[in-house]
Symmetry: C2
Subunit: 204 residues, 2 copies
């Protein structure tokens, strides 16, 4: 089974890259699907699942009292349950066949599937430009607001991974390939990265 995981900085074009690579290679593609599935299984709103999974971790860690432990609050308990579902779903998807999975710490969770782990990043200027290009028409954020949002989302991703592993999010040692998309077109980049992935799996 060839599994490609894409971790990415917000605005770096990693999601588009993942989708295009999947299309080129004829692999399945999982991204929002994971959130949708978790939401369905727990009968929660998708946005809620996303919020819980992405931003509540520092506050929802289990706390140990002597030999027992409790959770800081109800959300903590819920987060653990959602995480557990995410964990099972990712393994389910990975077992089905060749696929590209974007985000969700699949690089860490699917370690025993020996995935090809790609990290996609870019300089701040390129990320801001990419965010503007795909923003809804009525969104009119200042640069400073966009920068804050990028920082916030990436910091959430880093925390999410920190909760699951001691491997630092975005540190190149945890990935097989780190791709800087600054000033590059994702459309043009995709065939080359797909080629890399093909070569990687063939030669392993």
């Amino acid at each position: 089974m060839n599994i490609i995981t894409i971790s990415r900085e917000f605005g770096s074009g990693g999601r588009e890259l993942g989708k295009r690579i999947a299309d080129i290679l004829g692999y399945s593609y999982y991204d929002r699907e994971i959130i949708t599935e978790i939401a369905k299984k727990h009968d929660f709103d998708e946005k809620y699942v996303e919020t819980i999974l992405e931003s509540r971790f520092p506050f929802s860690m289990p706390i140990t009292y002597g030999r027992t432990f409790s959770y800081t609050d109800a959300t903590g308990q819920q987060a653990i349950e959602l995480l557990s579902t995410q964990y099972k779903l990712l393994r389910e998807f990975a077992s089905k066949g060749n696929c590209v999975i974007v985000g969700r710490c699949a690089n860490v969770i699917l370690e025993e599937f020996a995935p090809l782990n790609i990290f996609v990043y870019a300089d701040l200027e390129s990320k801001i430009q990419r965010c503007r290009e795909r923003a809804p028409e009525n969104e009119n954020l200042k640069d400073s607001e966009l920068k804050r949002r990028i920082r916030q989302i990436d910091s959430g991703r880093a925390k999410h991974q920190k909760f699951l592993t001691d491997r630092k999010w975005g540190a190149k040692e945890g990935y097989h390939l780190c791709v800087n998309t600054s000033g590059l077109e994702i459309k043009s980049l995709s065939p080359v990265i797909a080629e890399y992935a093909k070569g990687y799996f063939e030669k392993k």
Copy 2:
């Protein structure tokens, strides 16, 4: 002019990767040639040039006294001269035509040539194994000694770059592509990275 710079951790196979990419693409290849040229120009031993350029920097920084400045020692003055020759040579090589340059902070020095900057790295185990494979027959270092050597050489490279720029050696933000060679054959990896480089220059 298409310039590819390869920065690499010691034992990661970056040099071999650079040579193979140059061969595949039909580019010139510069590595030891730079040291050889500098040594010739200054009538120094190559080994001496290498030592001065790679390991003396923390001790040979110019020190400012009021409005004038002096050097900490004679080697400091020499280092600056060698650096200046290296600077000129790199620009000379780069101006001649498409090429791959390994090491020598070419990524920083040749910035205005808009090179494709690749960083090659690997986990410690792979680096030790690669060092063993290419060691002379009579070399019989313990793992701990090899680890120390790897650390020392990489730390020299990091300091060398720190002397020239505030961009941190090995930090992915300073490169276009970071390639983890752990467990991979450089021979198999090279055509894919060459393909990436080709795509990168075509689409720029």
